[in-house]
Symmetry: C2
Subunit: 221 residues, 2 copies
């Protein structure tokens, strides 16, 4: 094998990791995994994929080293292989948004155009500690259990309409969900506004919160 062939082999190995990031469905899977580990079946359902298709995508991710597995009885739990994988995924999205013109319209088409007031992570922390706001986690319960902002209340967005009374009505609500491109908090804030509640949204979500090394609270396993 010549020098050029060895160079190609090395760069092809890097490209294998890039290839894992080259499918929208695989990125959706990474998005889910960034919230915590999940079984193949749960991932397939959450991503709207055929089971075998989801399994194949997960194999691709595993081959690239982006995810790892753990067997528990009959099921296999997938998880991100490390924090650096989440960082890579987040940076990919940021670069795409900055340099690719098509992202912004696709983003507003998906998330909605309402200009709900946003707060950033630091502001949320200080205002929550001051008791000025209540923090609301609108992700599915299992994701809340796997790790959430300390002190946050969990009401999955599908249950929010009927459980809205559980929220104290003397303070503003700050809703958050998975990350900068997650629709759940957008939906939640719209719904709260319809019910006449003051509601804000965290600029991004749990993905970025973890990457910023802010405190995370998890249910006892």
């Amino acid at each position: 094998m010549g020098d050029a062939a060895r160079k190609s082999a090395l760069y092809d190995a890097f490209a294998l990791t890039g290839k894992a990031l080259s499918s929208g469905k695989r990125l959706e899977l990474l998005d889910l995994l960034a919230q915590g580990e999940r079984t193949v079946d749960a991932l397939a359902k959450a991503a709207g994929l055929n089971l075998t298709t989801a399994s194949a995508h997960l194999q691709t991710l595993k081959q690239a080293g982006l995810v790892a597995t753990r067997r528990e009885g009959v099921r296999i739990h997938y998880r991100l292989a490390g924090d650096d994988v989440a960082a890579l995924y987040a940076l990919l999205r940021q670069v795409a948004r900055t340099h690719q013109a098509a992202v912004e319209p696709a983003r507003t088409a998906y998330l909605g155009t309402d200009a709900a007031q946003e707060v950033d992570r630091e502001e949320l922390l200080t205002r929550a500690q001051a008791g000025e706001v209540v923090v609301l986690d609108v992700r599915p319960g299992e994701e809340y259990a796997a790790g959430h902002i300390p002190g946050a209340i969990s009401i999955p967005v599908e249950e929010l309409a009927e459980r809205i009374a559980e929220l104290p009505d003397d303070v503003e609500v700050v809703a958050y969900c998975r990350g900068a491109y997650c629709v759940l908090a957008h939906d939640a804030v719209r719904l709260l506004h319809q019910h006449g509640r003051k509601a804000l949204r965290l600029t991004d979500g749990m993905l970025e919160w973890r990457l910023a090394d802010l405190p995370v609270e998890a249910e006892a396993a």
Copy 2:
């Protein structure tokens, strides 16, 4: 278009950026562009690609927003679209190295197994300022011109054997090149050792130097 379709559209847009990173040849092109802008022809030759093939890959990179172009007369200069693109490329390589078992053997097969002593960026700075070492840039002259470590001497590795006398012989030499996976500094250090010179290698190279926001010196344009 339903909600799921809008979500797919957004994630497919992210995936377009991932797709740009999914080919070894495109990563080699990014590697070259991280050193400074270049024409299509120069990139094709440096990467060992057919001109039309190189052009096609560059179009892919451009569509993903990773590179930008500038026309100067009859030629078109490609460059990275931003520092964040270099950061994404560097992080991709780091994640691949950390989590993909095949990378390490491919790396040593390409770069060689000699355990030449390495210095990191901080050590290089302090020892160069103290006059204990001379810093040697072994990249092609055009890359040196586009930006180099302040005070570094430029001797492209192909000319090193015949120009070795230009190096002062009372201090150690620290060679560097493009980045952590660039073979040039490895070759240079081997060659210097063969000539009985004390030589070290910077752990990585210009790519990481720029990302660390360390001072860069460029030739007047």
